[in-house]
Amino acid sequence: MKLPLALALLLCPAIVHAHLISTGLGPVYDGITHFALTPEDVLPVVALAVLAGLRGKVHARRAIFVLPLAWLAGGIVGASSRVAMPEALAWLPLLAMGGLVAADLRLSPTATTAIAAVLGLLLGGANGAAMAQAGAGLRGVTGIAAAVFVVATLASAGTVAWQSGWMRIAWRVAGSWIAAGGLLLLGWSLR
């Protein structure tokens, strides 16, 4: 009895899943999970939402719809062409978005919308190419765009609601942390 047990323990080790490959719930959930576990994607989205929220409701309302739609459009292009922003440039959205929040720039609603569109197209394109390679395709990109909408909405709503006094400084400090992370990521990529 002990011998078969020992053999079973030796011969039937479980496969170690060091990284998330699939949630087992389908490509939409795979996309959502991919987004949630990728700080290079989440942090620029949060930074853009905070940037829009700091400027007010008009900016926030535009950003939360333009960003996921642009993300979806970029994802479709990326998934079909498999051409996307190089991974070595992952620092750029972090540094740019975090820097804008830290500086608390007074942008026009059009400028905020344009920034949201560019960010969505760039990161969505990268996601689309990655999803296509992983076999998740457009449904994966749809899941990511939905997650982007939820995160951007929550972050911008929080920023619009809480920005008096110290809270505004706290948002700017958070932006400077994101920008600092981007600068250091550039250093890591050049190391």
């Binding site: 002990k2 011998l3 020992a6 053999l7 323990l9 030796l10 080790p13 170690v16 899943h17 060091a18 700080p39 290079e40 992952a90 972090l94 820097g99 830290a102 400084i169 700017r172 400090v173 400077s176 942390w177 920008a179 600092a180 992370g181 600068l183 250091l184 990521l185 550039l186 250093g187 890591w188 990529s189 050049l190 190391r191």
Partner: protein
């Protein structure tokens, strides 16, 4: 019997599958977060920045926490790409001495002088983090960890500095500044030996 013993021995010797990085490597946010707070020189200097900011009041009290992470990250960037910065340990010790002295004497220089001084020290601290960062899997999370930890140390300093509104608190802050300065002298002696 021998085979069974060998099999059991092999089972008991089976090592755990370490699918992720070993402790101490740049594996993520927590290890990065622990990096600055594991060195007393960094802790005291960063808390002193917060104390000084609280003494100086607005706009320094909010300008420093916004700009410091960026300047520190620039220092870290220099360290990561291999740009040498001579005398980093001396610079860190000097930061504790001078920031402690500034808190002790409640020195109120013009804002740009205070910002330049703190920025210079931020480069030294950032460079030290950048060169001390071990290679790992998630440079971004590690970097965010040590940036956030530094920001938290500033916040602790600012929170402690809130006692500056009371006369007794002002004296206590000056004493604390003196303590940081003395610790800085010790760090300087350590760096020299």
């Amino acid at each position: 019997m021998i085979k069974r013993t060998i099999l059991l021995f092999l089972v008991l010797l089976a090592s755990p599958a370490l699918a992720h990085v070993q402790p101490g490597e740049a594996g993520g946010f927590v290890s990065g977060f622990l990096h600055p707070i594991s060195g007393l020189d960094h802790v005291l200097a960063m808390v002193a920045v917060g104390l000084w900011g609280a003494q100086l009041g607005a706009p320094a009290i909010w300008l420093l926490p916004v700009t410091f992470p960026l300047v520190m990250a620039f220092g870290g960037f220099l360290g990561l790409v291999g740009v040498p910065l001579p005398g980093v340990e001396f610079g860190i010790a000097a930061s504790a001495i001078l920031l402690g002295a500034a808190v002790m004497t409640e020195r109120r220089p013009p804002l740009y002088v205070a910002a330049a001084l703190v920025g210079l020290f931020a480069i030294f601290h950032g460079h030290a983090h950048g060169t001390e960062l071990p290679p790992g899997q998630s440079g971004l999370l590690y970097s965010l960890g040590f940036v956030v930890a530094t920001g938290c140390l500033h916040a602790i300093g600012i929170a402690i500095g809130a006692i500056h509104r009371w006369p007794t608190g002002q004296v206590a802050l000056r004493i604390a500044g003196g303590g940081v300065g003395i610790a800085g002298l010790f760090f300087l002696w350590q760096a020299a030996t």
